[in-house]
């Protein structure tokens, strides 16, 4: 099956700052793929390169078989976008806004269907400025869907939502998946990735540090061994704690020294992720 999105060796710098430092991933058709990571990890830079907003410095990128950097209209016909921040004209209504956007596409979805899909039926004739933040975000999603895209990019679609609004948004994204859309989603919420994604890539400091299904990520959470050597804290992560520990201890015993402050503990996915968020990039 053809990949909906194929990225290899992608790099992007802003001045001296390398935002994306060589990442590779592939999204299959019909898949929900999540880029998970803390703020500043390079999620938005990556998704905006795929959306055609930014030029890449290096690497190969195809979206639905085309190069997004060329900003072809045929590609934009087939891709829906929810940006991290964007607003629409405050003075016109939900229905009018969707009708304007529907007019940009050759084969748009029916506007009333879209309004129903994103749950704004009661707000159809309400001006945008009277909508709540969550309702505006749903309209953003409606605008992304009105062109009947094959692929949808969602950049932090639930940031700033209360728990109930997030659950509703999740339901909507599951609905898109049921429609057969391919979805690329960025988030810094672990539970969102676990709830929605078929596959997750964890991004940190512009690199993918781990990738897999949510189940694989949980299974891969390994054991961490910490000790101090020559005054320096050493951390060893391992899937084979018995063997690794045996190697370490027998070497220390043979050399006649102590593994100071030796500590062994099992890490959960949450540990892994929280480390990503809070640790210094060392």
């Amino acid at each position: 099956m053809a990949a909906a999105v194929d990225v290899s060796g992608l790099r992007k710098s802003y001045g001296d700052h390398e935002a994306v430092r060589g990442i590779t991933f592939r999204i299959e058709e019909g898949e929900v793929f999540c880029l998970l990571g803390p703020n500043g990890a390079g999620k938005t830079t990556t998704i905006e390169i795929l959306e055609g907003y930014r030029a890449r410095d290096a690497g190969e990128v195809t979206v639905l078989g085309l190069d997004p950097g060329r900003r072809e209209r045929t590609l934009r016909e087939r891709v829906g976008v929810v940006l991290q921040h964007s607003e629409t004209w405050p003075q016109i209504t939900v229905g009018e806004t969707l009708k304007i956007y529907a007019g940009y596409y050759r084969e748009p979805r029916n506007v009333d269907e879209v309004i129903e899909l994103v749950g704004l039926v009661e707000k159809r004739d309400a001006r945008i400025k009277t909508l709540s933040g969550g309702q505006k975000r749903r309209l953003d999603l409606g605008l992304a869907l009105v062109g009947n895209p094959d692929l949808v990019f969602l950049d932090e679609p639930t940031t700033g939502f209360d728990p109930q609004a997030r659950r509703n948004a999740w339901e909507m994204i599951r609905g898109l998946r049921a429609l057969g859309k391919t979805i690329l989603l960025t988030t810094h919420y672990l539970d969102e990735a676990q709830q929605l994604a078929d596959r997750v890539a964890v991004l940190r400091d512009g690199l993918i540090v781990t990738e897999g299904t949510p189940a694989e990520l949980v299974a891969s959470s390994h054991t961490e061994i910490r000790y101090r050597e020559h005054g320096e804290v050493k951390v060893v992560e391992t899937d084979e704690p018995t063997r690794t520990l045996h190697g370490l201890t027998s070497r220390a015993v043979a050399e006649g020294r102590e593994l100071e402050e030796l500590e062994v503990r099992r890490r959960s996915l949450e540990d892994v992720y929280l480390d990503l968020v809070h640790e210094d990039p060392t």
Partner: protein, 248 residues
Amino acid sequence: MSLFAHQVRADQLVFWRGRESAIFVFLFPVLLYLLLSTVYSGEYRGRPNTDYLTSSLIAYGVANTTFGGLAIILVMRRELGILKRIRATPLPAPMYLAAALCSILAVFVLQATTIMVLGRLFYDWHLPEQWPSLFAAFLLGALCFAGMGFGAASLIRSGEGASAVVNVVILPMTFLSGGFGPTTDYPSVLQAIADVLPLTYLVDIVQGVVYDGTPIWEQPTAVAVLFAWGLAGTLIAVRYFSWEPRER
């Protein structure tokens, strides 16, 4: 319906629904016209003041609408992320900008027509003999000031700043360039400043047409200066126009 017509219609809906833009951009020159025409009912160069004011207030309308209105609309849309969002749709970017231009020109045409009709009804104003030259001057002015509007939108950084910047530029410029009345009594310093302002040249052209019967093609210097301003604005836009918000 073609995509271009669709977008112009969308721009018109957004413009007239936005009360601030409709009042400030469309109505303000009309109100000033009524005010000044009522206050200054005398004569200028042996003819009723309405001959001067009708054409000069339309010239002010050119600056206010195609320069100020366009700049404010574009900056607001950019800072709200509307421009960025549009870039993800199949609508071609040049078509979006052309529609914005066409839409603001339509607003100006309606505004100029309103002023002329009010002049006819209340102040006994008549079209000058050289009316094709008058209309050509307004159209040329509208295009040049729109070019400056695109340029200004590219330089203004914040949405809140847009209206302030535009007013601080337009009102003194109109005053100095004779848009609100003849500048023959102004001190020479002010007249020297006026000599570099684009609106001075538009007002000169239209008053040349109205008072001296000089057609637009016999005023090449003023046309060239106006055109140069429009071109400068357009080049600034080509270099600095941004589809993405500046303040994030």
